[in-house]
Symmetry: C2
Subunit: 422 residues, 2 copies
């Protein structure tokens, strides 16, 4: 079954906002086993929207439109869709009451425009929107199923997940399930080479790799008559991937991020953590602290951007700075050791590097970063050469620091034979 996406909005055509709705809907549809071959963006213009919708209905089974359901005159997605599908618009009493209630809750009154939002095409399926005043609408025609959804993500996402996903799931004879195997510390091309034979031989389940900063995700997707059968299809492939990548896999759970995996490892082993950051300047701590509940293990951290701060807060020796320079394995090591001592932490990680655009030399080019991790007194230091702009180099350093921490903690507990080269 094929699906096609149409995102409506002048702000998309002007490039004022990035089309995250398309990515969200596309990923959701792929997860439901629907094939998406086209996505279109069009403005709030009746003629062009009508043209795009007609084309989509001709070539796809399901057409999902988002945006243009607001109360203003500019918003005409519903009006155009009703006309293309040959349906009149009628007042939908439950939607009218929802709008009334929505405004009452906020202590305000609807404007005359808002009642337009309670008008729906005859015989349409109306989907309640708990986060806004525009209901979702499904129009089933002989040619295609047309689904109209609001544009704001905080309305679109819950509406899709509560109402549209079950509707679409019921249409597809097969259940599509997937599992993501997340790998850190190995490059994309290395991972691709290691699974090329599996990708080449894939049928059901299918295997796809996705590169992220400092990580590679492998998604295994199976189609079957029910979730249990799909799970049975996925299991051997995930097992094979585990055998190939071992401890480079940090999780096989969808919602677990690398920082969450590291935080979980710290909490499970009752290890406290501190960070000492130079070029990343707080980003590493910032990312770790995005994990809810990490306060159990993360108490304090240091941003030591100047040499003086490295000496004063972390006790890095003046002679080490003079002899090796601030961007060196030796300074990274002293930063990590010093931070562990100062914060009385079991685990510490230190980052020092040249994020650019200035400050690079032939010997120490922009992108050179040293990261040290100290676990209960045992310190590991690694040098990296990242590419990209200042922001990209700093992000890469944060991901590498998380990977290194994870490796060092696992190694400390000798749960694994760590030390794969990459």
């Amino acid at each position: 079954m094929t699906v096609e996406l149409i995102c409506v909005g002048t702000e998309l055509l002007l490039g004022n906002i990035v089309n995250t709705n398309a990515a969200y809907l596309a990923e959701k549809c792929a997860g439901l086993g629907l094939s998406c071959y086209f996505q279109t963006v069009v403005g709030d213009n009746a003629e062009r929207l009508s043209m795009v919708l007609k084309t989509a209905m001709e070539r796809s089974d399901i057409v999902i439109l988002s945006g243009g359901l607001g109360p203003t005159e500019d918003d005409l997605t519903k009006e155009v869709a009703a006309e293309v599908c040959g349906r009149e618009l009628v007042m939908h009493e439950p939607s009218r009451l929802c709008i009334l209630e929505f405004f009452e809750k906020r202590g305000t009154v609807p404007t005359e425009n808002n009642w337009k939002q309670a008008m729906v095409p005859v015989d349409a399926i109306v989907l309640e929107n708990r986060n806004g005043t525009a209901p979702g609408v499904i129009i089933e025609t002989e040619q295609a199923r047309v689904i109209l959804l609001p544009g704001p993500p905080n309305e679109l996402y819950p509406l899709f997940e509560e109402s549209v996903e079950p509707y679409l799931r019921a249409l597809t004879p097969q259940v599509i399930c997937s599992q993501t195997v997340k790998i850190c510390g190995l490059g994309e091309s290395r991972v691709e080479t290691m699974v090329k034979d599996l990708i080449d031989a894939q049928t059901n389940p299918t295997i796809a790799t996705y590169a992220k900063t400092g990580e590679v995700h492998i998604r295994v997707t199976a189609a079957a008559e029910d979730a249990k059968a799909a799970g049975r299809l996925i299991k051997p492939t995930v097992k094979e991937l585990k055998a190939r990548f071992g401890n480079d896999i940090y999780t096989t759970e969808e919602e677990t991020t690398l920082e969450k995996a590291v935080a979980d490892l710290l909490v499970a082993n009752d290890l406290s953590l501190t960070c000492a950051e130079s070029c990343t300047g707080g980003l590493l701590s910032g990312r770790i602290i995005n994990v809810p509940g990490v306060s159990e293990v993360y108490k304090s951290g240091y941003v030591t951007y100047s040499n003086k701060a490295k000496r004063r807060l972390l006790g890095v020796k003046k002679s080490t700075l003079q002899k090796h320079g601030a961007v060196s394995g030796q300074v990274a090591e002293e930063m990590a050791r010093g931070a562990a001592l100062a914060a009385k932490a079991d685990v510490s990680v230190a980052v020092t590097g040249i994020a650019g655009p200035d400050g690079g030399t032939e010997e120490k080019p922009v992108g050179l970063v040293y990261i040290a991790c100290c676990v209960k007194g045992k310190t590991t230091v690694k040098g990296y050469q990242f590419s990209g702009n200042r922001s990209k180099i700093r992000e890469s350093a944060v991901s590498a620091a998380l990977s290194l921490m994870r490796g060092c903690i696992l190694e400390y507990f000798s749960k694994v034979t760590f030390g794969k080269k990459d």
Copy 2:
């Protein structure tokens, strides 16, 4: 003149990546005064890509395609475009040499596939790609101008700016210039209300507002026979905006970010800075340190996530923590004062709040954040109630902290009458 975008890539159709290229190209084209009515995403499939390209060439003057210029068999954008335009592909010697040089620099050799990238349609304009092996291509046909660009942003952006932008600028009879007025510390609806009369009355220049986290940007765009004339059209509107928003405008320069504006203010006044962060946990420092050259004023910072760290590193009183709780104006104030003392900094900023999803109470709900800024001993404290998820609340707090810092520094120097309520 109309332009249409076609982004080619299966990863876009699957929702694995967000289509930032479309937003980039759309914004650039709008800035050039080109009208964009359609954007399409299609996969690496000859038949469907051909269909989409033909439709685009029929209805638009310029068609820009990005993606699908890689060396693999899957990449077929150039082959399809050449066929649709009725042109043969021939070896382009300069591109062949560029590819050779590209690999030599990296100490590797091209694969057989790579030579495919040096093939270009007969009579095409070839655009050198300094960051990759796929050159850009412009095919001028009677129906439309078709521009092929590589997909990776680090290749697409410089190629567009160096070669495509001048090409497109030469096509348009009028010059389009714009200036962005960036405002911090005021909400979107407040800003919109304050410029509604200008927007309603707009012709040339046009005015549009864009909401960002903690900021609102107003873009003033004019069309004229040359840049000087466009500048003359823009000037009175920018002047009017300056009169209306005063010091809430932090810059009128395109490339200046809020953190850059704050860093510039510190450097210009020779003020050193430190940050003490609880719920933002390093993100504020991380954002400030993304400004190149900020090392002149930013030496060290503190991530004090636990109460103990707030006491140990910043000297926050136990009694203050007990009496008011960690998330309070009083603790924020002591954090800021303590950080300034510890780091011997002229300016300090402290953030403490509840980022959620847990930890909220009726009295102190999730999203409550206190920010204190101390400039040479004078401390200002403000409370905020942000909404959204953990990540959004933390980002909002970082932006608010930057706005507050800016306000406090300006106030200290009495360069302005600060203290507008929002």
